[in-house]
């Protein structure tokens, strides 16, 4: 028996009256308590495929859109952002037990006999007017530190990639929760009528190694209606598969076919009341619109050379991080609410000096280009840019430690992320770690706090954006306390 048939069978007279009676009561009560309710439901009927929830934004937002640069695999904060000059003298000395202080280790190093300290071999220097210390691996990003708020004290509980990525991007280590992009497009809707509210890109990477897998749930909609899930553009070839009409089918035929299909789907919806059918209708409609909007989006012929140069030489090669960054700008210009770029292979357990520079070269130039391009267009004033991974890396070496080669294991207690743009206090460094970049000394920022901050900048009170599921008012920040980080807000 299909779920639909099952549903219909359950529609006995008794269940119908029970449901509709309760519903009528609830509607009456709700309209008494919230006089604006029916006004808002009228609002929800508007033609936009992504209407906002009534009552949102909760307050005037700083940012209208979000570009999230996710470095999947966990970049080493010690080699990029968290400058620890004192470690140079401690090469190959054992990390004090008092520093580790009971931290759970992954099975990759828990069997290790000793934990020798591996100082970063990369030089750091102060940059910009703010003087933030940046590694030589990020020479371009170093040029824009005056626009960034660098948070050195992000922390999490998860110590493995899957739960950690799921945690930071969906608010819970257990799969099944909506991603941050889904929450934002569910709450705020999207202005774009011809493009998805939430677009995901997964560019290729240079370090030729196996990379941690990505999972669709990292941009999934969880229990929210599935139209809010991220739409992943492909890195190579057609960004969206099968979007072009097959030979012999022109736009008019396609339209007629879709109208017919939509009518049939509508009929089914009226019978079964399954909201996913509405999502399906909306998806077909969106796909039809994307037949013209996606080619227009990806055609960068009109971008001037000066603009392309901002993003670096790889911008014209499709599927690179630079090309994705340029598309991200073009997407937010066209009204897309959330763009997420997930760049893989930052998981450097060994041979870090071989792989990390390649990874940095992939993203460094384009990060600068994205910020500068948004800035000159005046878009950085209402766009929030977030950069970071799912956790940090250990100060001690995994495997063999040599003067010029080392590896680092996963480290959840502190790592570095940066934010820039709307509502962010530029040129800031927030938080402080100990001499080993192992524990937080001052101003911890849990990933829940980080997500609460993102929501706040987008005009949402993280405590009030919720969805009732499994008997709980589910939220991106979960049930534990979370506070927006005031110290990085302008």
């Amino acid at each position: 028996m299909t779920p639909v048939q099952q549903f219909l069978r359950q529609q006995t007279r008794r269940t119908f009256f029970k449901r509709s009676g309760l519903a009528a009561g609830r509607i009456a009560l709700a309209s008494l308590m919230f006089p604006g309710l029916f006004r808002s439901s009228a609002q929800a009927r508007s033609t936009t495929p992504y209407p906002a929830l009534p009552g949102l934004p909760h307050f005037a937002p700083k940012a209208r859109r979000l570009i999230y640069l996710f470095m999947n695999g966990a970049p080493s904060q010690i080699d990029l952002w968290d400058y620890k000059p004192g470690l140079a003298d401690r090469f190959d000395s054992d990390m004090p037990e008092s520093i580790r202080n009971g931290q759970r280790l992954t099975t990759m190093t828990s069997g290790q006999k000793r934990f020798p300290i591996a100082p970063s071999i990369y030089k750091f220097a102060p940059h910009g007017n703010c003087g933030t210390m940046v590694s030589e691996l990020l020479p371009h990003t170093a040029e824009i530190v005056d626009d960034l708020a660098v948070v050195r004290t992000v922390h999490t509980e998860a110590i493995n990639h899957d739960p950690a990525s799921t945690y930071i991007l969906t608010g819970n280590q257990v799969p099944g929760k909506p991603s941050i992009g889904a929450w934002l497009s569910y709450g705020l809707g999207s202005d774009a009528e011809n493009l998805p509210a939430f677009v995901v890109m997964t560019p290729r990477w240079s370090a030729k190694r196996d990379a941690q897998a990505l999972y669709q749930r990292l941009w999934g909609s969880g229990f929210l209606p599935s139209r809010y899930q991220g739409v992943a553009l492909r890195a190579t070839g057609d960004p969206v598969l099968y979007i072009n009409n097959p030979d012999g089918v022109d736009a008019q035929v396609r339209r007629t076919m879709l109208d017919g299909l939509s009518a049939l789907n509508q009929q089914t919806f009226e019978q079964s009341g399954d909201p996913e059918i509405q999502t399906r209708i909306a998806q077909y409609e969106m796909a039809f619109r994307m037949q013209t909007s996606i080619p227009e989006l990806t055609n960068i012929a009109n971008e001037s050379k000066a603009v392309l140069d901002l993003y670096g030489p790889e911008v014209t090669q499709s599927g690179t991080f630079a090309a994705s960054a340029l598309l991200a700008r073009r997407l937010v210009e066209r009204g897309t609410r959330v763009v997420q770029i997930l760049h893989r292979e930052w998981d450097h357990h060994g041979d870090l000096p071989r792989d990390l520079p390649l990874q940095c070269r992939d993203i460094d130039h384009a990060c600068k280009g994205l910020i500068l391009d948004l800035k000159q267009r005046g878009l950085l004033d209402d766009t929030l840019v977030v950069w970071g991974g799912e956790f940090g890396r250990t100060v001690y070496c995994q495997g063999e430690l040599r003067r010029d080669n080392y590896g680092r294991d996963h480290h959840p207690r502190c790592y570095t992320m940066w934010m820039a743009g709307a509502g962010i206090k530029p040129g800031t460094v927030y938080g402080e770690t100990d001499d080993f970049s192992y524990n937080i000394v001052r101003d911890p920022v849990h990933i829940r706090d980080l997500n609460a901050t993102i929501l706040q900048l987008m005009g949402i009170d993280h405590r009030r954006l919720s969805y009732n599921f499994q008997g709980l008012d589910q939220r991106l920040t979960g049930t534990e306390e979370a506070n927006p980080v005031k110290g990085i807000l302008a």
Partner: protein, 532 residues
């Protein structure tokens, strides 16, 4: 108290009516029990009502009518009880009917007495009120609406608002408790049972002020305990008005208020006036349907900017070239509500900016990649709230910047890919920077820093005394009275510090001997030889 018998009488009537139907025949079985509560309650209510009326302050005509109908209710109720007790069922029904009728009239009159004659319609929706023939409630004079409070009569500015807010509910045209009305100057002057409300020039002796200052537990304290109380500032203003002669017509300026009073009044009236002219937005309920209609017709997105404000954000940029001046003109009904307007990449031209000029509450305006020119920017001068203006990719040049110089709120202008020259941009920033103001603020900061420094308390305990004074500067009295070398009396000036002790000698020679080798002399001083 009075609502209990009303409910009971109505209940009896309902039960009695229901019992006409065979199905509910037995429904009034408990009427006897209810009656034994109702009759005493009705009597008590009438008695209490009569006592309250003796306190005075009610409109005579209304009160009389209420009294009579109330008595009829109580008596009918009483008779009904007697008839019921004797089993005279028909008479009981008649008495009950009379009681209900009288009750209806009495209750309405009672309501009018306590809550004012318009209490039924006052808060009803306007259409109802029109239909019922009631008049709209007079809107209280908004404090902010007084543009020039200094030129207004002091009574109107300092006394009347407070009296209107806290007093005239009981001491006004409809209810004049203790024969006192406080709604006009003359009424105040006349006063009530206890005499005039004020003594001109002497607030402390004025009854009005005395009553305000009594402890709230006392019965004479006004407004009575439990009613909204005026603030200390309200009372201060009232006292000032009385102390300065309690004149009905003299303006604030003529009375030359002290600085603190001027500040209070200034905060109430002047501040309410916005720094920049601003048309109040329309209620969000009124504009949302229009916004939705326009959104779907023009393929743009107009949404509320936040939950509790009436502001709208409009993104017309998503419509691109399909959106032009003609479409922009259709946004006119929303013009006072638009806070953010994004016209990026549309076909809007200077002609459209004339329309934008009416959107006086705009805070962010995106005009990048449109057809606007220098001339059109002249229309933006009305946008006093504008903070963000994006003009990149337009043909705007140096002349256009001139028009923006007068915008008070402007903080960010984006001019990439325009013909604005760096020199003009620099001049623009300088013209827009109020150097005097910044210098004044810097001085203020410096003054505050000085105050912080002055707050710092210094308590000096000097250098802590250690157990080992420096060898070169022995401190304190010598431990010996005779010279350990010669045996002669000591000279207090000739001392040496040794192992934390001060040792005195008779002359410099003996001191030198000791310093060269202290060992031989230590025993005489009762000191042990140092362990080496």
């Amino acid at each position: 108290m009075l609502h209990l018998p009303i409910g009971l009488i109505l209940l009896l009537a309902i039960l009695e009516t229901l019992s006409f139907w065979p199905r509910f025949k037995k429904v009034n079985a408990n009427a006897g029990l209810i009656l034994t509560i109702t009759v005493p309650a009705a009597a008590l209510t009438a008695l209490l009502g009569w006592m309250l009326s003796q306190s005075g302050g009610y409109e005579k005509e209304l009160l009389d009518l209420h009294f009579r109908t109330g008595m009829v209710t109580a008596i009918a109720c009483f008779l009904g009880g007697i008839f019921f007790a004797f089993g005279l069922r028909k008479l009981y029904r008649v008495a009950l009917a009379v009681s209900v009728l009288a009750l209806t009239v009495a209750s309405h009159l009672g309501g009018s007495l306590t809550h004012g004659s318009t209490y039924l319609t006052q808060y009803a929706p306007q259409p109802f009120r029109n239909w019922l023939g009631g008049s709209a409630p007079a809107a209280p004079a908004a404090e902010g609406s007084l543009t020039d409070w200094k030129a207004a009569p002091a009574f109107q500015v300092a006394a009347k608002p407070m009296l209107d807010k806290y007093c005239i509910g009981c001491h006004g045209p409809e209810k004049k408790k203790a024969s006192l009305r406080l709604d006009t100057f003359d009424a105040l002057h006349k006063g009530g049972e206890s005499g005039p409300a004020f003594v001109a020039g002497n607030a402390a002796q004025s009854l009005l002020i005395k009553r305000l200052h009594l402890p709230s537990a006392q019965d004479e304290h006004m407004p009575p305990d439990g009613k909204p109380q005026p603030t200390a500032d309200d009372i201060a203003l009232l006292e000032w008005w009385i102390n300065s002669g309690a004149d009905s017509g003299k303006t604030v300026a003529a009375l030359q208020p002290a600085a603190n009073i001027e500040k209070l009044l200034g905060a109430r009236f002047a501040k309410a006036k916005p720094a920049a002219p601003q048309a109040a937005p329309q209620p969000i309920e009124a504009v949302l349907p229009i916004a939705e209609k326009l959104s779907s017709e023009l393929n743009i997105a107009i949404r509320p900017l936040s939950e509790h404000e009436a502001w709208l954000q409009c993104n017309a940029g998503i419509a691109g070239a399909a959106f032009g001046d003609e479409q922009l003109a259709r946004l006119a009904p929303l013009q006072s509500n638009l806070r953010w307007l994004d016209l990026a990449g549309t076909k809007v031209t200077d002609a459209g900016l004339a329309q934008v000029a009416g959107m006086v509450n705009l805070e962010r305006l995106h005009l990048e990649r449109t057809g606007v020119t220098d001339a059109g920017l002249a229309d933006l001068q009305s946008l006093a709230q504008l903070e963000y203006l994006n003009l990149y990719g337009t043909s705007v040049g140096d002349d256009g910047l001139e028009h923006l110089k007068s915008l008070p709120g402007l903080r960010k202008v984006f001019l990439w890919q325009t013909s604005v020259t760096p020199a003009a941009a620099k001049a623009f920033v300088e013209a827009r920077t109020d150097k005097d103001q910044i210098r004044a603020w810097e001085q203020e900061i410096e003054a505050l820093a000085a105050r912080i420094r002055n707050q710092k308390m210094q308590v000096d305990l000097g250098i802590p005394v250690t157990n080992a004074p420096a060898a070169s500067a022995p401190v304190g009295a010598a431990m010996n009275t005779t010279c350990p070398v010669s045996g002669k009396p000591i000279d207090a000036e000739k001392t040496v510090s040794y192992e934390g002790k001060v040792i005195a000698f008779c002359c410099d020679d003996c001191k030198a001997k000791f310093q060269a080798d202290p060992k031989p002399w230590l025993a005489k001083l009762g000191l042990a030889a140092p362990k080496r």
